[in-house]
Assembly symmetry: C3
Homo-oligomer: 129 residues x 3
């Protein structure tokens, strides 16, 4: 169920975007141990001036390849979150050559009752999930 938004600056091809989504999904399935079909991804592409992503003074230098990944999910342990962050950056570097400085993630937690995946049902409450 994690619902994931990817905000990035325009300029990538459809193939490049799809590859980023595929990799991110593979990593989240692995890190959060969710089913393969647990895939809910939305991409927003922006003009360069529409994204200002700094570094809180950490010493990162972002490029125009920066991706902000915002996730809504039921609670996960901080261990799983850390594994996700690590593996995501590693995979995007290895397979898309995206600089680890260009990957920012922010999560928000909700509850089972806050999800309806279709048919007007709250599947975490009905026992379907």
């Amino acid at each position: 169920m994690p619902l994931i938004r990817f905000d990035m600056i325009e300029g990538r091809t459809e193939t490049e975007v799809t590859k980023i989504l595929d990799i991110s999904h593979r990593v989240i399935v692995d890190a959060f141990q969710v089913p393969e079909g647990d895939r809910y991804q939305i991409v927003h592409q922006h003009h360069p001036y529409e994204m200002i992503i700094k570094d809180t003074g950490l010493g990162f230098k972002r490029s125009k390849s920066v991706i902000v990944i915002t996730i809504t999910t039921r609670q996960r342990t901080h261990e799983k979150k850390e594994i996700f962050y690590e593996k995501l950056v590693l995979a995007l570097k290895q397979e898309c050559n995206i600089d680890p400085a260009d990957i920012m993630v922010s999560m928000v937690v909700n509850e089972g009752e806050d999800w309806s995946f279709g048919f007007g049902k709250a599947q975490f409450l009905t026992g379907e999930l």
Copy 2:
């Protein structure tokens, strides 16, 4: 106060989008028992490849009419949330012929102090709301 984002694939007319917003608003006013003026809706339209919305293995088949509805709201009972899910899907089917498999909802809860509706005031704290 629910603030609601509608993510959908491009291709609908303005009239069709507006109808979806009108219906969704009517349902939320009814299910959450909020005032008619409690309407805060934002639409994001995407290229098809920018939305990958699967089914967690529930057996749904989504179409290009899929709509992901994300809601930020103060807490509601799970009964009200379930009524909202049910009525929304029913109304969108009856009035727009949208397949119940194509409606996904995710909510995030915040507090009264997290809202300022205008004029720089937190109206839930000032007593205006």
Copy 3:
């Protein structure tokens, strides 16, 4: 770390948008007492029919200049939130002549472990922040 989305109706120039971002950032640095580099801003521009922003019956009249500001942040005191709302509206009025009725804010709170600013690390957990 506040991550801030600005949803607005298309029609502003890049310069006008950038000025709104600059002012908002200055206000949040001041109100939340965060570092200057703690800047994470994303803009979404919409067709007019994609944003319906009413007033919960408070008596506001919105214009096409309406801006919906949604913030994800670690918890802040309600005093700091109220200072932010007040100063933001004041600054946007004084410097951009945006009507205080046109500024709506909604916040969602998360935890330190929910942030990775780059390099696959959760910098609030590692002690880097």
